[in-house]
């Protein structure tokens, strides 16, 4: 295809509505007579609900209904868990608590009123009596014993799983050194700037329901909610309007979504619930939350012989859609960018009286990368080798791809050394080390940290996914020549309206503005999987590309018929099919379909008489008028393709950062941040940069600031953004980015994915830099977030 758009820094087509304030997020969708829902949520982490008195609430102004657990116990199915693991314990997760409340924020009652103020007022009038129960908060303690959350399982252990290949015992035995480090991956909150929100509207006559939800997975939600409330799936339409960020937190089916749908059916009216930030902190999934110990065996020269990671994963009180599966992704990525002959992960998934953990940007892979990249630095320190050399020593060569890892994966393509070298050059690594030595001599705490990561993207082959790993696309050329792309991916900020249009415009040879990408409406778009796991472009973009190729096969047939030649002899250039002889003359302007003027007839009449070339847009018109089609040709010009990838893709890169620590306060300041990323072929460098920037900032958030804290009674003490610290502009460094480009062989676009790279690669780079800065004090490790006090304590001993 002629790359007029692909690979260019094209500004986004979705932006005008967003920068004018004219876009519609769920709460911006207004329907007459909408009722509003407010929730009463548990203030205890673990308690038996002994009684709920809703009498006063029902009498309150504007209140239409109040629902509690007993109302939905037999009518709304449980919140789904799609993860399948051997002997997995799956608790019954009802959309309102029935019997017991298992975490702070657990919904207990829903008040429906004529406006949101009145609903909120009435919620205060509901009186819940609790009998407090002992809590399971600490994940390691809860794995061993203590109060059991789900009595029927006898313990808090949801599953145990061992993964990896190779003889780990032998591998560790053969090592000259074994380094061991306990690491905490603290619990994080995704904090999409728009919280969750649901608007449900039931049409009693049609017996149809439309659900607007701020979600990453409209089709999967349709299926799941239909099953939960017992509505035929084809009577449920899910629309995702603008989605104000997801980061995995909206890759889920939540209690509130099914409940709102059910309430709308009960009341025959639209009902809306918009999550408050407090609710978002309490009852939207959290991420990470692993505590593990890594053992790494290495030879004296730095060669890694084996890696074992024993980890307990804090699952929270219930399983959301993918909760138990997330730690298994950690197991898959424990080889990092290295040749490690034997790897083993032993994971124990543990229930605790907290909100569920699930996929948060990176989803299990940041934990793995952190373990491996911290371990590489610990090995380097143990052997007194430069961390660069330890990494280089263990990289597979670029000729070794596809590269099989002891975690059971086959990395598609890579050149890890090239990315490392580029990052070393860009950062001036040797000079940085010299400056560091000088600064240290002057008593300054300067640290240089790096991370050479690999991540797993383009999730993924259906075999590896709980609900299909393909993605779908339909591409249509409308009679007037505009191009409509329907994608099953459901982007929410990633910019696929632009990047998919770039792919389509280039492949069809049309103007970018002629292409409209539609997503996020199950009544319009064919079934799709969604946007998560850095999959939209690699899987969904490929579906678009192949759908277009299918469409062009048909278009060529029509063109050949009209132009009276063989399809195989046609040239296609700049959106125009030409007879062999006419190819040279194709610059001659021929009439296009008129735009902006209504034709006299139902459709404009194509003038095909004596033509030697036809634009693909004219062919669309011909295909719709259907008077000049080859025999046995379906009218219309559209094609649908469901792309099933054969493998994941494996982007990689090296990040290097330089920090200075304030010796007196323990505060960390960035001096440099260099990132060289390889996400395969790049469709739009502007968007890729944006993804990298945002990803790095979330990673820095984990490294320095963010932590969801429950106290020993299971109270969420970081319940608002006053306590849960999101990175601010003033705290962030200037990112110096570069790229290498190693195409993926897994898809014809050669793209790998970039949505999570920053988040995966950057966290260990930052922590490695801090540990490096503190190394004069004998510091070998520090757990995140590296709050000033923790750093200060290490400095003062």
């Amino acid at each position: 295809m002629a790359a007029k758009y692909v690979g260019k820094r094209i500004k986004r087509t979705e932006d005008p509505r967003l920068i004018k304030g004219l876009a519609h997020y769920v709460d911006d969708v207004r329907l007459p007579d909408t009722l509003h829902v407010a929730f009463v949520r548990s203030i205890y982490a673990h308690a038996r609900i002994t009684s709920i008195d809703v009498t006063e609430a029902l009498k309150a102004p504007g209140v239409v209904a109040v629902y509690t657990g007993k109302d939905i116990a037999t009518t709304v199915g449980p919140v789904p868990c799609a993860a399948a693991l051997p002997d997995l314990k799956i608790p019954d997760y009802r959309v309102l608590a029935t019997g017991k409340a298992l975490f702070v924020g657990h919904p207990i009652a829903a008040v429906v009123a004529t406006d949101r103020y009145l609903a909120r007022d009435a919620a205060d009038l509901i009186s819940v009596d609790y009998e407090e129960l002992p809590v399971a908060v600490d994940v390691e303690a809860s794995a061993k014993g203590g109060p059991v959350i789900h009595e029927q399982f006898g313990s808090n252990i949801a599953y145990t799983l061992t993964s990896g290949e190779g003889d780990i015992e032998a591998a560790l035995k053969s090592a000259d050194h074994i380094v061991t480090q306990r690491m905490v991956h603290q619990r994080l909150a995704p904090v999409a700037m728009e919280g969750r929100g649901v608007l449900a509207r039931y049409f009693p006559g049609e017996e149809e329901l439309t659900l607007w939800s701020s979600t990453q997975i409209p089709h999967l939600m349709r299926t799941q909610v239909a099953l939960m409330i017992g509505l035929p799936e084809n009577k449920l339409r899910v629309i995702t309007p603008e989605v104000g960020g997801g980061f995995g937190s909206k890759l889920n089916v939540y209690a509130e979504e099914a409940l709102l749908a059910w309430i709308s059916i009960q009341l025959g009216k639209p009902v809306k619930w918009i999550e408050s930030r407090r609710e978002n902190m309490q009852a939207t999934i959290h991420g990470r939350a692993q505590v593990g110990t890594v053992e790494v065996g290495c030879k004296n020269d730095g060669t890694i012989t084996g890696l074992r990671y024993n980890v307990v994963a804090d699952l929270g009180a219930y399983h959301q859609l993918l909760t138990p599966a997330i730690p298994t992704l950690t197991g898959l990525m424990l080889s990092g960018a290295y040749r490690i002959p034997a790897i083993q992960m032993n994971v124990t998934g543990v229930f605790t009286n907290k909100m569920s953990t699930d996929a948060y940007r990176g989803a299990g892979r940041p934990e793995a990368t952190y373990v491996v990249e911290r371990a590489m630095d610990i090995v380097a320190a143990e052997l007194k080798i430069d961390p660069v050399e330890v990494r280089r020593k263990n990289f597979p060569a670029k000729t070794e791809f596809p590269f099989h890892t002891a975690t059971g994966l086959d990395y598609d393509s890579g050149d890890y050394e090239a990315a490392l070298d580029k990052a070393l050059n860009l950062s001036g690594y040797a000079k940085l080390r010299a400056e560091q030595a000088k600064a240290r001599a002057a008593g300054k705490l300067i640290g240089i940290g790096m991370s050479s990561y690999v991540e797993i993207c383009a999730l993924g082959p259906s075999q590896a996914m709980p609900a299909g790993g393909w993605e779908s696309a339909t591409v249509r050329i409308e009679p007037t020549g505009t191009v409509t792309v329907l994608t099953g991916a459901s982007p929410h900020g990633q910019g696929q309206e632009t990047s998919f249009a770039q792919i389509a415009a280039d492949e069809l040879g049309v103007d970018l503005n002629a292409v409209t990408v539609i997503h996020g409406d199950t009544a319009i778009v064919q079934y799709g999987i969604g946007t998560f796991g850095s999959r939209a472009t690699a899987v969904g973009g490929t579906a678009v590309l192949i759908a277009i190729q299918k469409l062009k096969e048909k278009a060529a047939k029509i063109a050949a018929h009209v132009l009276r030649c063989e399809a195989s002899s046609l040239a296609f250039e700049g959106g125009r099919y030409s007879r062999p002889s006419a190819a040279a003359a194709s610059a001659v302007s021929e009439p296009d379909v008129a735009v902006g003027e209504a034709p006299a007839g139902a459709l404009p009449e194509p003038d095909t008489e004596g033509r030697s070339t036809l634009t693909i847009q004219e062919i669309a018109l011909i295909a719709h008028i259907a008077k000049e089609l080859p025999p046995d040709t379906e009218p219309g010009l559209s094609a649908t393709y469901f792309f099933e990838p054969k493998n994941f893709t494996f982007p990689f890169g090296t990040h290097i950062c330089v920090v200075e620590i304030d010796k007196e306060t323990g505060e960390t300041k960035f001096l440099r941040y260099v990132a060289v990323d390889d996400c395969g072929k790049v469709i739009n460098p502007l968007l890729v940069d944006g993804q990298i920037h945002g990803g790095i900032v979330q990673a820095i958030g984990q490294a320095l600031y963010e932590e969801v804290v429950y106290d020993e009674q299971g109270q969420l003490v970081t319940g608002e953004l006053m306590d849960y610290a999101l990175p601010k502009a003033s705290q962030m460094p200037w990112f110096e980015l570069d790229r290498t480009e190693t195409p993926s062989p897994v898809n014809p676009l050669g793209v790998k994915g970039v949505g999570e790279a920053g988040t995966i690669g950057a966290t260990p780079a930052v922590v490695n830099a801090i540990v490096d800065a503190l190394s004069p004090y004998g510091v070998k490790h520090l757990d995140m977030p590296a709050r000033p006090e923790a750093v200060w304590k290490l400095i003062t001993g």
Partner: protein
């Protein structure tokens, strides 16, 4: 959260002890306690309006006295629940004679939940200390008053 401290009251130990276990006095000393009604042996129903500055909450709950060993030790357990959340605290009081005065060593746990726990984290320690100091200030006044007017007038 742990709370502990030592407070000297200028009254003899048995008088302080009896004040500390007297519901009328307790009601006047516990900051914001608007009602304290006996509902069982050493068990009282309480109604509290507690707060600092603009932040105020009404709590309904119980006050229980335990482990009573006059005049040297008892434990007070306070539990309250309201719109802004709940608070539960227990404190052991050890009373020592100190040259005619009484030294109270107290050590306890405070647990809070609900909105106040989710947003008030940075203030909780200060608020607890303020409550304690108000309590002891009021208690000092009470023991002085009861010393002055005599035990018989205790309510």
């Amino acid at each position: 959260m742990k709370i502990e401290g030592t407070q000297e009251l200028h009254a003899p130990r048995d008088r302080v002890y009896s004040a500390l276990t007297n519901p009328g006095i307790l009601q006047r000393c516990i900051p914001g306690c608007e009602a304290l009604e006996k509902i069982g042996e050493n068990l009282f129903a309480a109604m509290l309006k507690a707060g600092v500055g603009a932040i105020k909450g009404t709590f309904k709950g119980e006050v229980r006295l335990e482990d009573m060993r006059p005049p040297e030790h008892y434990r007070i357990v306070v539990e309250g629940k309201g719109g802004v959340g709940f608070a539960k605290g227990s404190a052991d009081f050890d009373l020592e004679e100190n040259d005619g005065a009484t030294l109270i060593k107290y050590s306890g746990e405070l647990q809070i939940g609900g909105t106040i726990a989710g947003v008030g984290q940075r203030m909780i320690q200060g608020a607890a200390k303020m409550m304690a100091s108000r309590f002891f200030a009021a208690l000092e006044a009470e023991v002085q008053r009861t010393t002055a007017i005599g035990e018989a007038d205790l309510v």
